[in-house]
Symmetry: C2
DNA sequence: TTTATTTTGTTGACTAGGAAACAAAATAAT
DNA sequence: ATTATTTTGTTTCCTAGTCAACAAAATAAA
């Protein structure tokens, strides 16, 4: 296995591992809410005026899935929808107070995870860290280019 | 958003993006086989004597899922099972010639993806590359430690 | 050896999410 | 203004994967 391949593999493995180890505390602390629901809540809070399409894009899911997910979150009273006076088609979402509470718990959990992994970030120098960050960003925008080149679209 | 958080976010975004952009060519070239099936074939070929439990662990799926997945791959004649003379319980898998063909196509695709992303790796110096790789590995084994500490197990 | 515990794989009920067809609204074209 | 096209969200059907209960085999304990 060459280096590039190895990096991608390790990358994927790290990602899976992280999702998996975090899952337990998440499930415990956010009992009754799926990761997707929480993730959706996070996205709604962090971006102003999220509608179905935007959420689909940022969560890498289909509009159909988001449609169902938001409906579920509405029946749970965690989010509510609103529209703009000049547009009868697009539906936007915002958190209810209960939704914000979930958001807060989620943020706290992330703070814990960050604490747990602090040693990793303490061990490396600033420039090493910048190197990694820069690499990820560069790779990401390269893929954006390729996506554009291939004419792929989120639908 | 602090730096650690940002790295994780970019990280996740890059990962999703990569899965997504690769999906199209995959689906085209490996029509009739799901990503999971292909991933499973890959794992069987790359590790000797994979059984259900091992596959579950390496693919981050439940044993139940692997049980069904391997069954499907068997009816498709892409893999076959075997047992060891001294153990009537554990079931191991290996690829059939048709399975190996799928494996080969998958490998070729990865070669293409590597080619597509070559520029990224060409742009960075060896030591920058090593830095990234080292970081990922370090993080991964840190999580291994934490997993052990928390007494989590794959079941 | 006999019994209890653990490991391994399987099955059935259930759920999340994708694909595609659809309706309604918005925008573009004429 | 009218018509055609595109965008946005919804719904139905279907599949992949989880969970939990289970049986059989292997291992540990007695």
């Amino acid at each position: 296995m060459n280096k590039e391949e190895q990096l991608i593999t390790n990358f994927r493995d790290l990602f899976n591992k992280m999702v998996w180890i975090n899952k337990y505390k998440m499930e415990d602390r956010l009992k009754g809410h799926t990761p997707s629901e929480v993730h959706c809540i996070e996205s709604i809070e962090k971006n102003v005026d999220s509608n179905v399409r935007e959420l689909a894009k940022s969560l890498y899911m289909t509009r159909g899935a988001i449609s169902k997910l938001t409906k579920k979150l509405m029946t749970k009273k965690l989010i509510e929808s609103y529209q703009k006076p000049d547009n009868k088609k697009e539906i936007y979402f915002k958190l209810t107070p209960q939704g914000k509470e979930i958001f807060r718990i989620h943020e706290d959990l992330h703070k814990e995870f960050r604490e747990r992994d602090k040693v990793i970030f303490e061990q490396i120098t600033d420039e090493q860290f910048e190197g990694v960050l820069h690499f990820v960003e560069k790779y990401s925008s390269h893929l954006d280019e390729e996506i554009k080149k291939q004419g792929l679209t989120i639908n």
